[in-house]
Structures are given as structure tokens and as C-alpha cells.
């Protein structure tokens, strides 16, 4: 191992390694896109409907794991400790809902998009239109964050301007999403999954061995330190945290009801996200939809179960490296990240030492969540090629999610709006052109938000989950499991659910409607967790309104009976 390291560490530098590895992966993505370009709307929207469960599982995993999962999540957990579990459980538990309650039936339904289902099941173009608006809002807020992630990685590792980074990312995504459609991105996502999981695991395994002697990070972070002291790593971190005035790492500081609500909102939001749901339209049979949900979650959990280990390693390393150390002798990585503004140090008491404390008045160091994963290999002094690999992995994560979202946006416009509402007589060929054009427009808008990020990106991502939870999830669940649910119930449920969610978010995030602080939260539930309340309201409104309005037509009730039976799933049709 040492010999291999010294052989490949011949000193060509992090930057050249990054050019080489990122260059190879980009060439791979473009090659795949050209080889698997889409020739029909069916290939463009759902990859022709014949994707194998394994390929779909891998593509779903890459689609799902965004810049947030790859770059930010471990960092957030390392600062939040136990509370970080809301993301781990929230973003994986949703797949159980998908596999058991949604994916098989939506596959049997056999159309192209989520608004397709809402529009047909609730026999109403109003319902379809509301669903299109939700899909667009959710996807745009999400994709802006991805573009920003691409820019961040480029600016740090290739030392180009962050905006140039966004533009390069746009061109790559534009190229393969527009040419390849769903078919192209499915197979690029398979490649991207391999790149991102390798890039995430290699440094995690290295660091786990360094700190605990155990090559499996999931076990390592529950093990003893390898320095022979016999102290458990987590006990040590609990001690370090309380010494600096933070809550114990394994205890957290959010209230139980808030942790409960956020977890549920994220789970339900995950199961209601259109770019995830649509992946299950691409497999051949109903049983394949179930199976590929299982494979997708397995592949996701490989990263998600490693992230809390990385969080513990990174936090312990970070505290030990900087806390009470002289600023003059900090390592190189500290200075490099300082120039990006993601580490900030102000020597408040002028003693030349770095005081990292929980108390805002005496704390001198601010470390951004996002750099924990990106800086981790440098903090642990891993070889240059590992650092470059992490950059390639972060780009794979951001690009794969961006591409999936762009397809949802383009399908919402060309299929749901143009073909289903505005001009049903449009030819297949024109619809395909419209799909490609809307993808181009969507990339440009996403790029614009990447270059000029709205100040509330973090808030809007939480909003995306809350919106999906408050709108799509109840409408789809009731559509499958409650035959008597009618259009009046579903539409009023969706609209009131969304508005209620928007009201609470804007009140506490942007200070509208009189604003308010943490003390004013209803029942102590944060805006991030409020999707749970809005979802419950949606269910209540839907069922109440339904009781006072007429039953859905017989043909719709027959359709519901039909989607409950897995056989004869047939090919997807217009």
C-alpha cells in the first residue's frame, strides 16, 4: 500500500490529478450519452420502458444522491450530532413508502409523468395543472442548488471562478440530457453512481483505518481509538464537545416533536418527489419496480450509513487539529479554504490561538458545513489522487441529480402542458423537439440561479420537501388506496396543503405575515418539519370535501381496481 501510494504520488499535484480524473469521467458521461441518445418521446421520457431493475436501482441512487447528500450531509451531521439523524432516516425511510405504497401502482398505471397520474386519476385538467405547477416549483428549487454545488467544486479544486464552474456544468448537463433524454441519463447515472460511491468510500475507509484500525467505517466509528488508549471514539467526541460547550454529540439539542416532524416530512417528501417517482416508470414490469426500489435503497444506504461515520471522524479530527492551536501554524488546507470564505477566523481575544467554542461571543472560528467532506481527505493528509477523486465524486452527484430534475421539468412542459393541455394534436416529432427545447430553457434558468443564487437556497430546498409532502403524497396515496376519492377532494387538498405550507415557510423563513422567531413555532415544530402538519391537513381536507361531493365516475374506479393488479402492466402509452 505504501509503495503504491508513493508510486502514484509522484508529485503531479492535486490540481493535475483533478483535471485528469474529472476529465476522464466527463468524457465517459458524454460518450454514454451519444451511444444511448433518445429517438422517440417514449425514450426521451421513460428510457423506452425496458430498463433492468439493477440499472434502474443504480440510476435512482445517483439521481437521488445530490450535491447535498455527497457534499453537505456528513458536514451537517458532524455539526448537529444526533439531530443529523433526521436526514439519514428521512431521506432513506421514504424509499420504504415508495416501494410499498407508490412505485408498483404508478408503474402499472403506465404513463410518463406524475401530473399524468394526477390528471387521469382525478379526471381533471385542473388537477393536472396544479400538479405541473408543483412539479416545476419543486424541481427548480432543487436544481439551482445542484448548479451551485458544481460551481463550488470547480472553484475550489480547479481554481476557476465559481461562475465559470457553473457554466461548464451547464454545458455538460445540457449536452447529455438534451441528446440522451431519460435513456441517456439513465446510463450516465449508472456510471455516475459508480464514480460517486467509490469517491465517497475510499477516503472514509482510509480515515477509518487511521483513526480506529477498522476498515469498515460503519463499525469503526463505534470502535475504540487506534492510539491504544482503549477509549471509544464516540465517548471521546462527546467529551470534546461538552468541553467546548456544545451538546453531547450523541444527544443532540432539538426537541423530540421537531425531530419527529422533520423526519416524517422528509420521508413523505422523498416519496412525493417527481424526479424520483418517474424513475419507476422506466422498468418493464410491476415486480421490477418493487425490486429496483430495494436495490436503489441498498445502494443509497451504502453512502448514507457511511456519512455519520465520516461526520464523527471529521469532527474529531477538526477539533483536534484547530482547537487551541496557534493560528500561525495551521495546516495548508485551513488557509486554502479560508480564501474561499468557507472557513472564517477572527482572533477576538488576540492571543494568537484558535478558540472553537459553542458560545457565540467567545467563539473565533466559523466552519461551513459544506467543507467537511471536501476538506476531510486533506485534514487526514490522504494522497493527492484521493482528493481529486472526491472532486469527481461531488461533480457526479451534482450532475446526475441536475439531469434527472431537468428531465422532469422538460416533461412537465412538453408533455403535461403542451401535449395534454394546450395542443393535444401535436405530433410525436414536434413533441420531442418541444421536450428538447424546454430542457435547454430549463438548463439556462437553472444556470442563472446557480450564478445568482437566491439568498434562501437552503430554505427553498427544505421547502421542496415540504411542498412535495403537502401536495403530491396525499393525492397519490388516496388515488391508489381510496377508490372513492374524487377530484374535488384531491384538488382542494393539494391547494390548501401547499398554501398552508407556503404560509408557514414564508412566515418563519422570510418574515412575512408578521414573521416570528423560534419561540413562536406552532407546537415547537420548525418550518422544515411543517410539511408533516400540512400533509395531515391535506388528507383531512381531501376526505372532508369528498364526503360532500359526488363519487368519481365508474371508469375511474375501474382504473383504480386495475392498477392494484400487477399483471399485464403492458407498455407505457400516451
Amino acid at each position: 500500500m505504501v509503495m503504491i501510494n508513493s508510486l502514484i504520488n509522484v508529485g503531479i499535484g492535486v490540481q493535475n490529478w483533478t483535471y485528469i480524473i474529472v476529465g476522464i469521467t466527463f468524457a465517459l458521461y458524454i460518450g454514454i450519452a451519444i451511444w444511448s441518445r433518445a429517438g422517440s418521446t417514449k425514450e426521451f421520457y421513460i428510457a423506452g420502458g425496458g430498463v433492468s431493475p439493477l440499472a434502474n436501482g443504480m440510476a435512482t441512487a445517483a439521481d437521488w444522491m445530490s450535491a447535498a447528500s455527497f457534499i453537505s450531509m456528513a458536514g451537517i451531521i458532524s455539526f448537529a450530532g444526533y439531530d443529523g439523524a433526521v436526514y439519514l432516516m428521512g431521506w432513506t425511510g421514504g424509499y420504504v413508502l415508495l416501494a410499498l405504497l407508490l412505485a408498483p401502482y404508478l408503474r402499472k398505471f403506465g404513463k410518463f409523468t406524475v401530473p399524468d397520474f394526477i390528471g387521469d386519476r382525478y379526471y381533471s385538467n385542473t388537477a393536472r395543472f396544479v400538479a405541473v405547477l408543483c412539479a416545476l416549483l419543486v424541481s427548480f428549487t432543487y436544481v439551482a442548488g445542484q448548479m451551485r454545488g458544481v460551481g463550488l467544486v470547480f472553484s475550489r479544486f480547479l481554481e476557476v471562478d465559481i461562475n465559470t464552474g457553473v457554466v461548464i456544468g451547464m454545458i455538460i448537463v445540457l449536452f447529455y440530457a438534451v441528446i440522451g433524454g431519460m435513456k441517456g441519463i439513465t446510463y450516465t447515472q449508472v456510471a455516475q453512481y459508480c464514480v460517486l460511491i467509490f469517491a465517497f468510500m475510499v477516503p472514509a475507509i482510509f480515515i477509518s483505518i487511521q483513526m480506529t484500525g477498522n476498515p469498515i467505517p460503519q463499525l469503526g466509528f463505534g470502535g475504540q481509538l487506534s492510539d491504544g488508549s482503549g477509549v471509544f471514539l464516540l465517548d471521546k467526541l462527546d467529551g470534546l464537545s461538552t468541553d467546548l460547550g456544545f451538546a453531547e454529540y450523541t444527544e443532540g439539542s432539538k426537541s423530540i416533536i421537531d425531530v419527529f416532524s422533520i423526519t416524517l416530512a422528509l420521508m413523505v417528501g422523498t416519496a412525493g418527489l417527481p424526479h424520483v417517482i418517474v424513475r419507476f416508470f422506466t422498468v418493464k414490469r410491476v415486480k421490477d419496480a418493487r425490486k429496483s426500489a430495494g436495490i436503489a435503497l441498498l445502494l443509497i444506504v451504502i453512502l448514507y450509513s457511511t456519512a455519520p461515520a465520516v461526520a464523527v471522524f471529521a469532527r474529531t479530527n477538526m477539533i483536534e487539529t484547530v482547537s487551541n492551536q496557534p493560528y500561525a501554524s495551521v495546516p495548508d488546507w485551513f488557509k486554502k479554504w479560508e480564501t474561499t470564505g468557507l472557513i472564517k477566523f477572527t482572533d477576538k481575544n488576540n492571543d494568537g490561538l484558535i478558540q472553537y467554542l459553542a458560545d457565540n461571543d467567545t467563539n473565533e472560528l466559523i466552519v461551513d458545513n459544506d467543507i467537511m467532506v471536501l476538506a476531510n481527505p486533506e485534514i487526514a493528509e490522504l494522497p493527492d489522487w484521493v482528493i481529486a477523486l472526491v472532486a469527481a465524486g461531488a461533480l457526479a452527484a451534482a450532475l446526475s441529480t441536475a439531469a434527472g430534475l431537468l428531465l422532469v421539468i422538460s416533461a412537465s412542459v412538453s408533455h403535461d402542458l403542451i401535449k395534454k393541455i394546450i395542443n393535444p394534436k401535436i405530433s410525436e416529432k414536434s413533441e420531442l423537439i418541444a421536450a428538447r427545447l424546454s430542457a435547454v430553457v430549463a438548463v439556462c434558468i437553472a444556470g442563472y440561479f446557480g450564478v445568482n443564487p437566491p439568498g434562501f437556497v437552503a430554505a427553498t430546498v427544505a421547502l421542496a420537501f415540504g411542498l412535495a409532502a403537502a401536495s403530491f403524497f396525499p393525492a397519490i396515496i388516496l388515488g391508489i388506496f381510496y377508490k372513492k376519492m374524487n377530484k374535488e377532494g384531491a384538488i382542494s387538498g393539494m391547494i390548501i396543503g401547499i398554501l398552508f405550507m407556503l404560509f408557514y415557510m414564508t412566515k418563519f423563513k422570510f418574515g412575512w405575515f408578521g414573521g416570528g422567531s423560534k419561540a413562536d413555532w406552532w407546537l415547537g415544530i420548525s418550518p422544515e418539519g411543517f410539511g408533516t402538519v400540512a400533509m395531515i391537513l391535506n388528507f383531512v381536507v381531501s376526505i372532508t370535501v369528498m364526503k360532500f361531493t359526488s363519487d368519481p365516475p365508474k371508469s375511474v374506479q375501474d382504473m383504480v381496481e386495475n392498477i392494484r393488479i400487477p399483471s399485464d402492466a403492458g407498455k407505457a402509452t400516451h
Partner: protein, 84 residues
């Protein structure tokens, strides 16, 4: 393929889903959140048990639950002749 057949199939499916969803709720919201403090009294290795369920265990159970459902439903499809 009679309606009766379809109804029986649907009922068995709902029963599976209900049992699996109960376990889903129990490991995450139960062991990982509501009973976390109680479970944290127990330790294995360096992990407090409630913390472990929240950051590790619940996710492993989720994966297993889906694959159990896949198995159960493949058998159920066969039993009712819906596996064609």
C-alpha cells in the same frame, strides 16, 4: 380473473403492507426517536443503542423490509396468477 380473486389479493397485500409499515415506524420513529433516551442506557461497542438506531440501524432495517416485501409479493403474485 374474477373480481373476488382481485379483492382477496388486495386484502393480503394490505395486510403485508400494514405489518411492514409497523416495523418501519417502530425502528425509526420508535427506537430512533421516541424511545431513544431509554435505549441510550444500553451500549454495544461504542454505540449507545438509541443513537445507533437513529444513525445506522433504522436504515439497515428499511433495506431489509423492502426486500422482504419483494419476496412476499412475488409469491402472492404467483398464488393469484398475476405473475404473467
Amino acid at each position: 380473473m374474477t373480481n373476488k380473486n382481485a379483492n382477496l389479493y388486495w386484502k393480503e397485500n394490505i395486510r403485508y403492507v400494514a405489518i411492514l409499515m409497523f416495523i418501519w415506524f417502530f425502528v425509526s420513529f420508535g427506537a430512533g426517536i421516541l424511545f431513544k433516551d431509554f435505549l441510550n442506557e444500553f451500549k454495544f461497542g461504542g454505540f449507545k443503542l438509541g443513537f445507533w438506531f437513529a444513525q445506522q440501524g433504522s436504515m439497515y432495517v428499511f433495506v431489509v423490509l423492502i426486500f422482504i416485501y419483494v419476496r412476499l409479493m412475488n409469491n402472492l403474485d404467483k398464488k393469484y396468477g398475476y405473475d404473467k
